[in-house]
Amino acid sequence: MIQLSMKKNILTIGGGVAGIEASNILAGMGYSVSIVEKEVTLGGKVNQWHKLFPDLRDASDINDYLKKRVKQPEIMVFTNTEITSVKKTDDGFYAKSNRAVGFEAHAILLATGFDVFKAERKEEYGYTIYDNVITSVDLEKQFKKGGAIHTTGGKTPKRVAFIHCVGSRDAKTGNHYCSKVCCVTGVKQAIELSHLLPDAEIFCFYMDLRMYGLEFEELYKSAQEKHNIQFIRGRLSEASENIDNTILIKCEDTLSGRPLKMNVDLVVLLVGMEAGSGTHAAGELCKLNFQENNFLACSDIHLGRNCSSREGIFLAGSCIGPMSIPETLDNARSAALEIHKFLSKN
């Protein structure tokens, strides 16, 4: 086994937005940083996205930015690698991996990210059963791939429904929390779809629209005023397949106070964020506390957002909870400063 001897060195678990940004700042401060990423490439979920809210910029801009931030040799990168054990040592930690590489680290940063909610758990919506029920991730992949949008029968959709809060704020799935970014993702995707399908009617079914970020509200307004997206306040009760493979959806329009049934050609489920299996595994290995919602627990919700329940182990990005990309970048920078404060003290 190769023993990488490092002084004031930091192990970052997770090579997505948070892991790369924090590692870059720490490397700039003179620390020796190793990033361990279980996937074959760095970048995390952004690799899958096409355009980003609220300004519809290309997601590849962020990828390019991240690539430039991984400066070697100050940052060593181990892709396709997973940490298998973490032990406390006199001056930090020793972590073993599945690839015959061990890491001595004075501090560990967990940036293990999130998993997308598995929409098939909302059985009543028929994802993986009905042909024309897809998720926002599927649609984003279609956007990225390019070309025309079709139903599985090859038809150009005339009516599309976006369903908000799938797997978020939902006691039935055990996820009581808000995933924050799905509302604006729905608005962004509805606008993109309106460009590709100018003759289609596009509906968003929502509980609340939480447009909390910079320029989110403006995007929502433009969706209504410029792109003719129709917003219906009502949570879907069920989806069923019609004989022609269109989808029958049912909900209560809570503003008019009436039940509503509608046939649509395509249903897009806006899936939320869940604490990922990687976050769970890393948290268990490091013996950290979890929140009730399965994301990693901070030492103090106001004053220690980047500190875990264990000294020397820090948190960044959406392993703490749902975050947008700008929030993740901010959070990662703050984690780097927290680690620097800790290592300077010790």
Binding site: E123, Y127, T128, I129, Y130, E238, S240, E241
Partner: protein, 354 residues
């Protein structure tokens, strides 16, 4: 429609179904409207499958309909349920097989209540002891009787005489499965296949050669809905719900409807007659209704029993179109004759009589 998606859900919802030795509790509606269903269920389990089933004449209604109509208090129904468990305990059984879906929901609800609130169980033990002097054990296994036919569907298939195949076309019969709301919608884990895409009837239908129709209003209530029907002023809602289902299934040209709930069987059968009389509308082929059968009747037909012995003449909608498709021979002259060949009467208006 992707069947593999459904199969994944079915795989996730497996329930334990005891293999033998059942204490059987009858259904108020089933034994009155389709008495042969319960008779043939017992016959199939005992004679065909060689199982031990105890049909106890001492048990009573579970009072479920009164409970859902707010006539029977929760304390009372818990004590009635406890009495049935006491009868099972006294008879030396621990597996409880329930004919009625409403009752199955009641037994599930009460045993789950006792797990969450043990003080309710203790109060019920005291109430039963004071009122009857009896004691009881909670069953080790509670199943709906459709679970048992589902479990042994393969054994039945081995003895199958008639397949669910249209003999003239050679194609699988298109069958609507309607699972009662209280079977799995209260506790999805207590139903075979869960609540959204239940497999309990689908499994039987597919095993015996048929195909299941997945129509848009498949999950919708049959129209019984307790308050919809029990409150006279609400009966229009009951009919409207059934009609919604019939309209939704009609484009698929179903050959039959199979239910596991006795209430659903009754409403989906009899409301077709009402719609035919009031609106002149029928939903089957050639102006007839869609035959509605219990799963016991379906199993009986598959095993080759005489349709009139199975009690198919008790239904408002004629079942002959289905019998003809399956190639089952029957004597029309004997349809309304009893065991001793006496005339048993017949409905005045049957949907599109043959």
């Amino acid at each position: 429609m992707k069947v593999q998606g459904k199969r994944k859900i079915w795989h996730d919802y497996q329930k334990e179904i005891a293999d033998d030795h059942y204490y059987y509790v009858r259904s108020c509606i089933r034994q009155n409207f389709f008495p042969a269903s319960e008779y043939y269920f017992l016959k199939i389990l005992k004679d065909v499958l060689g199982k031990d089933v105890f049909d106890d004449p001492k048990h009573t209604t579970c009072t479920g309909i009164g409970y859902h109509a707010d006539i029977i208090p929760f304390e009372t129904i818990q004590t009635v349920v406890a009495r049935h468990f006491a009868l099972m305990t006294e008879a030396g059984y621990k597996n409880f097989a329930v004919s009625c879906v409403t009752s199955f929901g009641i037994y599930s609800e009460i045993t789950e209540t006792w797990k969450e609130f043990p003080e309710e169980l203790e109060k019920t033990r005291i109430a039963l002891k004071k009122s009857t002097g009896r004691e009881f054990k909670v069953p080790a296994n509670i199943t709906h009787t459709s679970d048992l036919i589902y479990k042994f569907k393969g054994d039945i298939a081995e003895k199958q005489v008639h397949e669910l195949i249209n003999k003239k076309t050679g194609k699988p019969l298109q069958i609507i499965e309607h699972v009662g709301c209280h079977y799995a919608k209260i506790f999805p884990s207590k139903g075979v296949g869960g609540a959204e895409f239940p497999n309990v009837l689908t499994g039987m239908i597919e095993e015996w050669g048929g195909e299941v129709v997945d129509y848009p209003e498949r999950r919708h209530c049959c129209g019984f809905g307790f308050r919809q029907y029990l409150v006279q002023g609400n009966r229009g809602y009951s009919l409207a719900n059934s009609k919604k289902k019939f309209e939704s299934m009609k484009p698929y040209h179903p050959d039959a409807i199979i239910c596991n709930c006795p209430g659903c069987t009754m409403f989906l059968d009899k409301w077709q007659y009402v719609l035919s009389e009031t609106e002149g509308k029928t939903y089957g082929a050639y102006g007839s209704g869609i035959p509605v059968l219990t799963y016991e009747e379906l199993a009986g037909l598959v095993l080759g029993y005489n349709p009139w012995d199975l009690g198919l003449q008790m239904h408002q909608v004629d079942s002959e179109p289905l019998l003809d498709k399956m190639g089952i021979e029957y004597d029309p002259e004997k349809k309304y004759l009893g065991k001793k060949d006496q005339y048993i009467g017949q409905p005045c208006n049957i949907v599109a009589s043959l």
